[in-house]
Each structure stands twice: as C-alpha cells, then as structure tokens.
C-alpha cells in the first residue's frame, strides 16, 4: 500500500529491537515522571514554607532546568559528569567507567526538567487556593503540615491535574532525545533499523504510531484520574 514495504517487520531481530526500545521508552518515561512529580511536590512544599534562602535555591533550580533544552542537559550530564570525576572502577573489568550510565543521565535530566515544570505547576495550584479556606483550617486547629496534607494538597492537586497532564505528555515525548546519548529507547532502535533497511519512511511511520498510542494511553489515563478526583463546583465536577 502506498508503495510502503514492511517486509522487514517479519525479522525477529527488528521485532526484538522495537519491543525493547518501546519498553525502555516506557520505563524511562515512567521513572522520570515519578521522580519529577516527587521533585514538584517537595519543591512546592518547600516554597510554601517561605524561607528566603530555600526559595532562592529552588528558584535557581527551576530557572536552570526549565530554561535550558533537555537535549543539552542530557549531553551535559553524559559528557561532563564523568569528565569532572564522577567515575567508578568496574569490579569485573577493572576499568574506570562513568558512575552514571547513559540511561541514568537521561533519567536525571528528564526528572530535573519535568521536576522544574512540576514545581511551578504545583506552586501555582497551591497559590490558587482561597486564603479563607486556610484560615478555616487554622481555626479548626490544623497544623501547617496538617493543612498541607489534608486540605491544600488534595484541593490543589485537582486544580493542577490538567497542567500535570501537559507536563507528563511532553516528558514522555522528550524521552526520544535520549537516543542522542545512546540510550537504547524506541527512537534509538528506529535509527538502527532504518540504517539497516533504508526503509526510513516506513520505520518513522511505525514509530510515530507507537508514540501516538502510548501518549494517548497516558492522557486517557490522566483524564480518567481527573474525572475520578473531581468534586462538584470545580473542573469536571458537577
């Protein structure tokens, strides 16, 4: 059809590559999403304490990782960290190797990038709560931490969900840039396959479909969560 040749897909080697690449992409996306959400939560909590030096530190982190291309961050971690001494001696070969593997570097950089975006999203969610709700919680005897855990986070997280969906879908797609630092994810194997077969269009079309399906599952899941957590008067609640 349309002169496309997918006969290479019957080759078990390519099937294995596609499968492994897809699994690695999912793994990298899930792991970096989880760390990013953690960074966002603790960052936003720390910001809500209003400690000047901590605010400055977090702001620096956010500006640094939000305002630089993730690809540049990955290259930085991959090439710089091992050069400036983050190396270990491999117990088997006795060779000095970088402490962080390519996968680790991609994970760290994507987590920081996503984390910086999450901090901003969660902070704005917390700040959108009416001050009066907080006053009511104080008058009922809730401590700072109690208010954060029982009232602010439950409400703010619902307000933030659409923004979080955006961040996580973007993060998922950004994992493809890890192919540049040789992380064997979907994009990396796609390159291997079309270098072998010269079927660039066919490979790209297939990879595109895989990404569309994976990210669709993610955003479908997020909207399910959004609906399940909705309460009347806010967002999707009735």
């Amino acid at each position: 059809m349309f002169g496309l040749d997918y006969s290479w897909l019957s080759d078990p080697v390519y099937q294995g590559w596609l499968l492994r690449g897809t699994l690695n992409t999912i793994g990298l996306a899930l792991a970096s999403s989880a760390v990013a959400v953690l960074i966002g939560t603790f960052g936003a909590l720390a910001l809500s304490l209003r400690i000047a030096w901590l605010d400055a530190l977090i702001e620096l982190f956010v500006e640094l990782f939000r305002n630089t291309p993730p690809l540049l961050q990955m290259l930085f971690f991959y090439f710089t960290l091992s050069t400036i001494g983050l190396r270990v001696t491999d117990p088997v070969t006795g060779l000095s190797v970088p402490l962080l593997s390519a996968f680790d570097c991609a994970l760290v950089s994507l987590s920081f990038f996503g984390g910086a975006l999450c901090i901003e999203a969660f902070r704005s969610g917390l700040e959108s709560l009416p001050r009066s709700v907080n006053e009511a919680a104080r008058s009922l005897g809730y401590s700072r931490w109690g208010r954060f855990r029982r009232i602010e986070v439950p409400i703010a997280s619902r307000i933030c969900l659409p923004a979080l969906t955006n961040i996580l879908t973007n993060l998922f797609k950004t994992t493809s840039q890890a192919s540049v630092i040789t992380v064997p994810e979907l994009m990396y194997y796609a390159g291997q396959i079309y270098n072998d077969t010269f079927r660039t269009a066919e490979v790209m079309l297939l990879v595109l479909l895989i990404y569309v399906s994976l990210v669709s599952v993610l955003s479908w899941g997020m909207s399910r969560i959004e609906r399940a957590l909705a309460f009347p008067g806010y967002g999707k609640g009735h």
């Binding site: 009511a136 104080r138 008058s139 700072r144 009347p232 008067g233």
Partner: protein, 248 residues
C-alpha cells in the same frame, strides 16, 4: 461585671496592619453562656476582634484570656490547639472544604486534629446535621449546596469541635435574604442552649432579639456597650446614634 468570672477577657488590645491601627485598645469581657453582638461600620475592627480572640491574628499589645488560656502568650500552632478546641469560628464565606462532603467537613477536624474516635464523631456529625436540618445533605459536596445550607454545615462543623465559645463573623452577609432566616434560626437555638457566642453582625433586628449585650465599635474602639434596649432605643454616644440612624 465581676471580671474574674468572665470566660473571655480582652484588656486594652491593640493591633496594627502596617501603619493602620485597626484596634486602639479594646477591652471586653464575656461571661460563660452570654451572647454578645458586635455592631459597627465597616473597617471599625469588628472582624479583627474575633480573629484575635481565637489567635488567627497575633495582637501587638494588651491581653486576651479565654478560660485559663492566655491567648497573647501562644506562639505556635501547636500551643494554639487547646484554644482551637475551645473556640470555634464561623465565617462570612462559609469556607467549607470543597473536596469533602458535608458529613466529611464536619468530621475532619475532630478526627484528624482532636484524635476523637471516628465512629463516635460520625454519630456526632449526623446529630449535628439533624440539628441544622440538613440530614438529607450529608453526602452533598459544598458545591452542591446553597449558601444558607453551606453556612449551616459550617455551623455544624464548628459545633463538632465541641467548643465552649463560637465566634460568628458576619455569617449572613453573603446570603440571599430568604436564606438568612434559616441560618439565624440555627444560631438562635445555640444561644438559647446557653453556648457562649460572640457575633459580628449587620442584622440589627437579630442582634436586638438574640444578644444579651451589644457593643458598638468605631475606629478601633468600643464606643458604647450595653443591653440591646439601651443601645438601640437610647444610644448615648453621638457616633452610635449616627450609625443606627443610617442602618435602621
């Protein structure tokens, strides 16, 4: 009045926000079981007085005592906890937690803050919902309730803390005229049962009916206080007369 047997006592309380002096020496004592209404023009410091009594706003000078608790000496939220247990507050904008149902709103603090037994608190919450005539709305979210219904849930939430005192901060100011009555009815019952209440209100008719004492505040001072008949029918201070002339 014998000051030592007052439940709440404010003595020369001052408070400024930046350069604006909101309270310029408020002295007030409230007996156990008394209902006191605070009336006065906007910005005269009425709501600030309430917020100082339950420690939401720290004061600059003077003393506040509730029972044996010296409010002006409390520094942390943890130290405030016994005070919060004793003094509850109902707000103009209801301030219910939007992510929890009416029943959960009432149960949250007694369970999570006071550590009371969940089953016992649930019974208490149902009893209180019945008291404010909202038994059929236990599972409704605040967003599904009218203003008057939300305010009655807020009253039940305050009562669930089993307080000795409830502070009402213009609780009918945001309500439709037809729902004001249902909220006032709920408050009147509490006063009749002998709960100590301090009410900031613009409902002069209600203040006259329900209060044992009315305080008129203007520019950060209590200008005049006395039984409702005296304040409303024979005000002594010209500022009281002027204010009542405008609102009555």
């Amino acid at each position: 009045m014998n000051r030592t047997n007052a439940l709440i006592e404010l003595d020369a309380v001052t408070k400024s926000f930046a350069s604006f002096e909101v309270l310029k020496g408020i002295s007030l004592s409230v007996k156990d079981g008394e209902a006191v209404c605070i009336i006065g023009p906007s910005g005269s410091g009425k709501s600030t007085i309430l917020r100082c009594i339950n420690g939401l706003i720290p004061i600059d000078g003077g003393r506040i005592r509730v029972g044996e608790i010296e409010v002006h000496k409390l520094r942390s939220e943890k130290e405030m906890r016994p005070l919060r247990h004793r003094v509850a507050m109902v707000f103009q904008q209801y301030n219910l937690f939007p992510h929890r149902t009416a029943l959960q709103n009432i149960m949250m603090a007694p369970v999570q803050v006071l550590g009371h037994d969940r089953r016992e608190v649930e019974e208490r919450a149902h009893r209180l919902l019945a008291k404010v005539r909202l038994s059929n709305k236990a599972d409704a979210y605040p967003g599904q309730l009218s203003g008057g219904q939300q305010q009655r849930v807020a009253i039940a939430r305050a009562l669930a803390m089993e307080p000795q005192v409830i502070l009402f901060d213009e609780v009918t100011a945001a309500l439709d005229p037809e729902t004001v009555k249902e909220v006032l009815t709920a408050i009147r019952e509490l006063v009749d049962e002998g709960l100590t209440c301090i009410l900031v209100t613009h409902e002069m008719k209600f203040a006259r009916e329900v209060a044992e004492r009315v305080c008129f505040t203007d520019h950060g001072r209590i200008v005049e206080s006395g039984p409702p008949a005296q304040i409303f029918d024979a005000p002594q201070d010209p500022r009281t007369r002027e204010f009542l002339g405008q609102v009555l």
